[in-house]
């Protein structure tokens, strides 16, 4: 049976996390949204990786799940407050996805790939992986904004939101990359390109 998480292209841990975080990658329609969500994921993943072992030593296994989730929720809540203060216009639209950082990351980013093993001694490794993850995220969101709206705004304007309409896609097909199905298509082609690049490197 074909499963998206079990295929060979998912051998890159960063790519694995990115493809697993589709619910957060799909709303990244602008560069600004991309860095708000990307930084949120990275901060959340690093803090959880650093704090969960400490929590594990303090409480029993029966309470560990609920407390870990509460900790995850609190980190996300603090980040949400920060986003509300810095980007009040974007915060409203992104609030459900900011919550998803906790729900998704809790079960995914920290427990998977190079971010899997928790511990302060591995923090530099987490930071490096998180940096690559963030760069991948920013690249993807920037590409969507450039292809969809024609330029990189680096700032929340009506540009990208105004084109989030299926009718406009009929006239300007490239705008589809701002819609969820366009994100799926773009992600598929980006992974294929990444593979081609890897293959050429090996051959070289």
């Amino acid at each position: 049976m074909n499963q998206p998480n079990e295929r060979p292209s998912a051998s890159n841990p960063v790519l694995m996390v990115v493809t697993g975080l589709c619910p957060l990658l799909i709303p990244s329609v602008t560069f600004q949204r991309g860095y708000i969500l990307g930084i949120g994921v990275v901060v959340h993943a690093i803090l959880l990786a650093a704090l969960l072992p400490v929590l594990g030593r303090m409480v029993g296994s029966s309470l560990q799940f609920s407390l870990s989730l509460a900790l995850s929720g609190m980190i996300t809540a603090l980040y949400s407050v920060g986003v509300r203060l810095a980007f009040p216009a974007e915060a409203y639209g992104l609030s459900p996805f900011l919550g998803l950082i906790a729900v998704n990351c809790f079960g995914l980013s920290v427990l998977r790939g190079s971010l899997r093993q928790a511990g302060l001694d591995r923090l530099p490794e987490y930071a490096r992986s998180a940096g690559i993850l963030l760069l991948t995220w920013l690249g993807f969101s920037a590409l969507r904004e450039v292809l969809g709206s024609g330029f990189l705004t680096l700032y929340a304007t009506e540009t990208s939101r105004a084109v989030l309409d299926l009718r406009s896609v009929i006239v300007f097909p490239l705008r589809s990359v701002l819609l969820p199905f366009g994100a799926f298509l773009l992600l598929g082609y980006c992974i294929a390109l990444y593979r081609l690049r890897g293959k050429r490197r090996k051959e070289g």
């Binding site: 074909n2 295929r7 697993g20 619910p23 459900p96 729900v103 199905f181 799926f184 992974i191 293959k199």
Partner: protein, 195 residues
């Protein structure tokens, strides 16, 4: 919106896989068709139904009247997830059929499919019963989408696909094309047809 309209919307245009990308994460791994079977599907449906109804009630009767609707995701995590996780853990610690059901349901509590269903139904302004129907429809729609994509992938395995596109890229491209077709069946269209 009628119940038929809700079901159509959440299965097609509002499908949580094609609209939010929910279910491509590890949390949903066990729920996939063939991986977890009918037991996992029923558990996902029940958890999605209960969490959507519960989250809708929390929003409708507590957060919105108090003007705290910004705390929606947090309320979901602290009330719905922890409550349902505790309940399913208690069920799983028993024995017999209830324990089996509890174990199956426990795996679904943290699924982002359930989260996306609860959030999208609560944001549609549904009553508790409508939100429950939307939650169940969203879970069923997600399941159907996964089965459909699996069948597509099985067919494509017989085709001569370039190596770079095999596997994950082809899954995402297929998902994108199906999502494009489904996105035409949106709420306005369904409301015009079935009310």
């Amino acid at each position: 919106m009628s119940y038929i309209g809700i079901v159509f919307t959440f299965v097609f245009g509002g499908n949580v896989l094609f609209r939010y990308g929910a279910g491509t994460c590890a949390g949903a791994k066990e729920t996939r068709a063939g991986g977890g079977g009918w037991r996992a599907f029923l558990a996902l449906g029940v958890i999605s139904l209960v969490s959507s109804a519960l989250h809708s009630a929390v929003m409708r009767y507590a957060l919105v009247p108090l003007g705290l609707d910004a705390l929606e995701p947090l309320a979901y995590m602290f009330i719905v997830v922890i409550l349902l996780y505790s309940l399913t853990s208690a069920l799983a610690s028993g024995s017999g059929f209830l324990a089996e059901a509890g174990k199956a349901a426990k795996e679904q509590v943290l699924s982002c499919v359930v989260y996306a269903a609860a959030l999208s139904s609560s944001r549609s302004g549904f009553s508790m019963a409508e939100a429950a129907a939307a939650g169940l429809a969203a879970a069923a729609g997600w399941w159907c989408a996964v089965v459909l994509l699996e069948r597509i992938m099985d067919r494509l395995e017989l085709e001569d696909v370039p190596p770079a596109l095999q596997g994950t890229p082809l899954w995402f491209i297929s998902a994108g094309l199906v999502a494009m077709a489904f996105s035409g069946i949106d709420r306005l269209l369904v409301a015009r047809i079935v009310g």
